[in-house]
């Protein structure tokens, strides 16, 4: 092709334009936003939780951005549906990191997804905040890139077991779903109850979503059992309680569980009456201690939760579960500010800043003071015991965070980055 004057001018002008714009584009990429990925279960077994965690993250991000962002950089959220499925969860984590270029990932509440994703977080050197509570997540299954912004099953068991044995009874039957977080509860309760000298009458594992609870519950030894400990996801908890009610269990023994099983359920139902829960955040504002009331009001308002724990549309909001996501963002912010993190290349210094980090109550930490244990990256915070009275959850007592301490199951600080 012959090079004409016109063609020459066109080409050189294009080249000059590219040279002029290049640094501008590049420069913008340097001061870009911090991208938070949300591996959310928006469909499937725990969809109700995923939707609320997503809303809480949006609320937290809006709040942080309105106050000037993190180290002058705005946060943006990219959400992927993991469908309460570990395989999908892994794919979506990969997509978030490799395709969308997210800096941090807030994980699903589905423990199986967390366990499947943990090795990927290390492989892709991306800090991951799983929201499931199976104990292994901060044990052998975790690694230095995994941070738990909210309790594990074992921490909740440690918090409540002593009180439960002293006040509810010494002879226990444990009935648990086959799912990871429920099996964690089964194992941790069994071990803790044995340490406390309580008697375990029976331990029963139930398939996920059984067609009928009745034949399974009729096996429970009502003569010997004083406390029936239940570990199920919401769909199964409501059926368990309903069937137990039909069989008259509520009158004959004490039923205890973790708040995770009923966090999206309306307790205004005779089947819930008198049942006990170990919780990490009071559903109703009335139960929040005086010194946290101000932060609680702020937190509820930001996420759109009223004093009874409901949304403006009247749905029950899993408030105890949500502060895990809220707190994860607060930890990211605090960690970045402490470590001077610029990009994922600085992840090691951010991780070191988070290891052993402690905080005091405030709008960022409405649940109260707490700390991230350096060894296993697990957050410790206070707990509550709540009981359903006249259809509403009422706080019986607050348990200080020290009660939930246990021997760390791993020491990630020894691991390479």
């Amino acid at each position: 092709m012959k090079l004409t004057r016109r063609a020459f001018l066109r080409r050189t002008s294009q080249g000059l334009l590219a040279l002029a714009l290049g640094p501008a584009l590049f420069g913008r990429a340097q001061a870009r936003e911090i991208i938070i990925g949300h591996q959310a279960p928006l469909t499937g077994a725990v969809a109700q939780f995923g939707l609320w965690h997503n809303r809480a993250l949006r609320a937290a991000i809006d709040r942080i951005n309105s106050e000037g962002g993190v180290a002058g950089r705005a946060l943006i959220l990219i959400t992927e549906d993991e469908a309460s499925n570990p395989e999908t969860g892994k794919d979506k984590f990969r997509k978030l990191v490799l395709q969308d270029g997210v800096d941090f990932v807030i994980g699903s509440v589905w423990s199986a997804t967390n366990l499947a994703t943990a090795p990927l977080a290390k492989e892709l050197k991306t800090i991951y905040f799983p929201q499931g509570i199976a104990t292994e997540i901060t044990g052998a299954a975790g690694n230095r890139y995994i941070f738990k912004s909210y309790h594990s099953v074992r921490a909740a068991v440690m918090a409540g077991a002593k009180w439960a044995v002293e006040h509810l009874g010494r002879r226990w039957t444990i009935i648990a779903s086959e799912l990871e977080f429920a099996q964690s509860q089964k194992d941790d309760w069994t071990a803790r109850l044995q340490q406390l000298g309580a008697e375990i009458v029976d331990v029963i594992t139930i398939p996920f979503r059984p067609t009928d609870f009745l034949p399974l519950l009729s096996r429970i030894n009502l003569e010997r059992t004083e406390v029936l400990y239940q570990a199920f996801t919401a769909v199964d908890t409501i059926r368990f309680l309903q069937t137990a009610f039909e069989l008259g269990f509520q009158e004959r023994l004490k039923i205890l569980g973790l708040i995770e099983g009923i966090d999206v359920l309306d307790t205004n139902d005779p089947a819930f009456e008198g049942t006990y829960y170990i919780t990490s955040y009071p559903r109703r504002a009335e139960g929040v201690p005086q010194e946290l009331a101000e932060f609680d009001r702020f937190y509820r308002q930001a996420v759109g939760i009223d004093e009874e724990g409901r949304s403006a549309q009247g749905e029950v909001v899993p408030i105890a579960d949500l502060f895990g996501s809220w707190q994860a963002l607060s930890l990211i912010k605090l960690g970045i500010e402490r470590s001077g993190w610029q990009s994922k290349a600085d992840n090691p210094s951010l991780i070191q800043a988070l290891e052993g980090l402690s905080w005091t109550a405030g709008p960022q930490f409405p649940q109260g003071e707490g700390f991230l244990r350096a060894e296993d990256h697990l957050a410790f915070h206070s707990h509550y015991v709540e009981r359903v009275e006249q259809g509403r959850l009422r706080v019986l007592l607050r348990i200080p965070k020290e009660a939930s301490l246990y021997e760390p199951l791993a020491n990630y600080t020894q691991q390479e980055f």
Binding site: T43, A47, Q48, L51, E178, I204, T205, I206, P207, R209, P210, T211, D212, L214, P215, L216, S218, R219, A234, V235, I238, R239, Q242, T243, E246, L247, G248, V264, D269
Partner: protein, 292 residues
């Protein structure tokens, strides 16, 4: 011993509910030769419709028992009409291609299930129309479950009367035996197809309303029961109505029986194995004939 009897009783109750679902599936296969994979979705639709109707009626009347009875009649009717509409629009053009009807009903299953998932997130609860329990074999057994078994039998009796004591039933049986001959003697075969399909899914919907008080009402509730219904229909003999009832009872009794001694998960596996063994011994099904 009491445990065994208690488990058998519960297996017996569930067997009837399962049989009602399986009967609808079997009826549709027997007459239309369509394997209706969407059957579980119609069961779910029945439960959801029942729940929705009860919600509407609550504002009008306080007589819950009456409301429930009304829901039990109206929900299957609505689902049956929807079934007829779907048969007419979606299945009829593919009637002579069995593979296509399987794919079409599978698509229906997904559409209905996901559609309900969109409108109804989470599980809903239906209060049993009859509260309370009675002491049976040393344990308290909810009375409603016994009523459920009775009502299921009632629906089956109605179906039997319909098939064996009415002209429509005679026609349906005629189409089942020989479609060409039925056409040749001037029976309105397309109408019979539509009505039988509607009737089949209405049975599933009736089972949906009946079981709504003992299971959570949610979009995916039809999946597990669908698999069980298929198993029961195959073990009972395809197209054979009494076979389905007996297979349903056997399966549920077996599961209840095993639950007495072992972990629920193992019991279920053993019950499935038991059904597999039955099929191994009688490959045509308990009462199946060679033509099926």
């Amino acid at each position: 011993m009491e445990q065994v009897l208690f488990q058998l009783l519960n297996g017996f109750v569930w067997g009837w509910a399962l049989a009602l679902i399986a009967l609808g599936l079997n009826l549709v296969y027997g007459v239309l030769r369509i394997i209706n994979v969407a059957h579980g979705a119609f069961y779910m639709l029945g439960a959801v419709a029942g729940w929705a109707i009860l919600g509407q009626l609550r504002a009008i009347s306080d007589l819950y028992l009456l409301n429930f009875a009304l829901a039990l009649l109206v929900a299957p009717l609505l689902v049956g009409l929807l079934g007829m509409l779907l048969e007419w629009t979606i299945l009829r053009p593919r009637e002579d291609k069995p593979v296509l009807t399987i794919i079409a009903t599978f698509a229906l299953l997904l559409i209905l299930q996901q559609g309900v998932q969109l409108l109804l997130p989470g599980a809903q609860r239906v209060v049993p129309p009859i509260a309370g329990g009675m002491e049976i074999f040393g344990l308290r057994y909810p009375i409603y479950r016994l009523v459920l078994a009775g009502l299921s039998m009632g629906f089956m009796l109605v179906l039997w009367l319909l098939l064996y004591k009415t002209r429509f039933g005679m026609w349906a049986r005629a189409v089942h035996q020989d479609r060409e001959l039925a056409l040749a003697i001037g029976l309105p075969v397309p109408w019979i197809y539509g009505l039988v399909f509607g009737l089949g899914v209405a049975l599933a919907a009736a089972a949906g309303v009946l079981t709504a008080p003992i299971v959570p009402v949610e979009a995916s509730m039809g999946m597990i029961i669908l698999i069980e219904a298929f198993m029961v229909v195959i073990v009972g003999g395809l197209g054979n109505l009494p076979g389905a009832i007996i297979a349903a009872l056997l399966f549920r009794l077996a599961e209840g029986f095993f639950t007495v001694w072992m972990e629920p998960i193992t019991a279920r596996a053993l019950a499935l194995l038991f059904m597999g063994a039955l099929l191994f011994l009688k490959p045509q099904g308990l009462f199946g004939t060679h033509e099926d």
